[in-house]
């Protein structure tokens, strides 16, 4: 059954105690550290949790046992870095259906230090193993930017426009003591950084880090019983397209974005003008452009000017990626959890670079290389 807008709330939210380079914690401990912090934020213990979601095969079992949780509802949806947006959506439906009352969603990834990290072997029999891997891709930096030149040609977007994305997000990161990179950069500096995979240079690619985060959701009726101000879930959406970036329908637009984003906004019953804060998962510099356009914040081809003119920077009309984003804040491998955390902080009013008066925040995620998408709309007030 569907949940009603505002009927479920985030009552606990936290990241790992440390973030960035954390070689003294294994991947499962990063999950646990974030979960313990979120439970402390909500004043709960493991025995209070009766629903659990985390990414991937066999993970709910591992995390449940490690934390001492006996869930009666689990979700192991793993569609890449936006899986947590889907977990929020599924958890809300489960709470509405009565399958669980208090759901914990965890993420932990030893992306940099690789302590007990999940291996990602390319299977030579998979479709990507047969029809992409033989041509020399080496991870997301070589695959995710493949559509960019086509997007640039179709929209008149320049290298300078794509550099500006990184510049603006560094302006936000400069206000965030937990951000991986806090030093301001210029368009010229971005375009002078080392070439990784043309057209993208080092400062247009996210770092790979260690860290985690956790959320706790419950019914809005119970939300007043928790210490932190509730952050209401107003809407959500999800979709998938393909595991192979070479096979996405349109190189200038993500089909998964175009399903997930509008689904979430429609459910929340909001217009673009109602959104006071936006997170768009930015593993690479082109993603905010696709997100702004596919979610309808900008017309096709206009995102480059929207960012260039300063709308998304501090003091702009639509503050975006205010933690510094995947490009400057952190990117463990699955950044969606951190986009959600920043949306929750902004709605609570506790973000390091707090935007004044955030009433509605949209967190939009991507998984794989335009493989999947999830969108969540949070609100300060219950409709």
């Amino acid at each position: 059954m569907a949940y009603k807008p505002g009927s479920v709330a985030v009552v606990g939210a936290a990241e790992t105690t440390r973030i960035g380079v954390v070689p003294d914690m294994s991947q499962i401990m990063l999950h646990a550290d974030a979960a313990l912090n979120a439970m402390a934020d909500a004043g709960l213990q493991p025995r209070d949790i009766d629903g659990l979601a985390c990414v991937g095969q066999m993970m709910p079992q591992q995390i449940a046992h490690y934390l001492g949780i006996s869930p009666r509802w689990v979700d192991g949806t793993g569609v890449g870095g936006c899986s947590f947006m889907l977990h929020v959506r599924h958890a809300a439906a489960a709470i509405a259906a009565g399958y669980a009352t208090t759901v914990l969603i965890t993420h932990g990834e030893s992306g940099k230090s690789r302590v007990n990290a999940t291996p990602r072997p390319p299977e030579p029999e998979s479709l990507a193993g047969q029809f992409e891997a033989p041509f020399g891709p080496a991870g997301p930096a070589t695959l995710f930017p493949i559509p960019v030149l086509r997007y640039m040609k179709a929209t008149g977007t320049t290298h300078e426009h794509l550099a500006m994305v990184a510049v603006v997000q560094r302006e936000w990161a400069a206000q965030n003591p937990r951000a991986m990179f806090q030093e301001r950069v210029t368009v010229e500096e971005v375009l002078a950084s080392r070439m990784v995979a043309y057209p993208f240079r080092l400062l247009q690619c996210c770092p790979v880090t260690d860290g985690g985060g956790a959320l706790i959701l419950t019914a809005a009726e119970r939300a007043a019983d928790f210490p932190a101000p509730p952050v209401y879930l107003l809407g959500s959406g999800e979709s998938v397209e393909t595991t192979m970036v070479s096979q996405m329908e349109d190189f200038t637009s993500s089909r998964a974005f175009r399903v997930a984003g509008p689904t979430a906004m429609k459910m929340a019953g909001i217009s673009h003008a109602d959104v006071s804060h936006l997170m768009i998962y930015d593993a690479f510099a082109h993603l905010p452009l696709y997100g702004l356009e596919d979610l309808g914040f900008c017309a096709r081809g206009e995102a480059k000017d929207f960012i260039w003119e300063g709308n998304t920077r501090p003091g702009g009309t639509l503050p975006m990626n205010t933690n510094g984003g995947g490009l400057s804040y952190t990117h463990t491998g699955m950044y969606g959890m951190f986009a959600l955390q920043e949306s929750v902080r902004q709605v609570r009013g506790t973000a390091p670079a707090q935007v004044p008066g955030v009433k509605i925040s949209v967190a939009h995620g991507v998984g794989g290389m335009f493989s999947s998408s999830g969108t969540v709309v949070f609100g300060k007030e219950r409709p």
């Binding site: 030579p124 047969q130 029809f131 891997a133 033989p134 041509f135 020399g136 080496a138 030149l149």
Partner: protein, 137 residues
């Protein structure tokens, strides 16, 4: 020199494609209901679900749809090298490499015409690569 890259392993559903490549033919499949060609191979139409699909040889011509030029070392590849997606004349797109062409943004122009060539990896696998289509070819 043995191929140091990632070698594809055919499945029952893709065997005909790789057999075609070994024999110098780029094999596609066509939906009986819409007439549209599709890729990667599967024994049913992704447009209508029909299993009555036909296999046919593509003409081998394509245009350059998009690419990146990778600047780091990867087994089997000498940087900088382009990882490209081409659009076949029949419609589907596929990932490939562009050979007999400088691996530079100046030489690699979007929408430039290309022709398939097959590079043997071993006795079983040949990879479909593309080179610029020569004038009058």
């Amino acid at each position: 020199m043995p191929f140091a890259g990632s070698k594809p392993k055919p499945t029952p559903e893709t065997k005909h494609f790789w057999e075609g490549c070994r024999n110098g033919k780029l094999m596609l499949q066509r939906c009986p209901d819409t007439g549209r060609a599709y890729f990667p191979p599967r024994p049913f139409s992704p447009f209508t679900g029909s299993r009555a699909v036909s296999v046919f040889e593509a003409c081998g011509r394509a245009t350059l749809h998009s690419y990146v030029i990778h600047h780091r070392e990867v087994p089997g590849f000498a940087p900088p090298y382009a990882i490209a997606v081409v659009e076949l004349e029949e419609g589907p797109r596929m990932m490939t490499n562009i050979i007999e062409c400088p691996q530079t943004p100046e030489a690699l122009q979007l929408d430039m015409p290309l022709q398939v060539v097959f590079r043997p990896v071993d006795g079983e696998i040949s990879l479909p690569l593309f080179r610029p289509l020569k004038e009058g070819a």
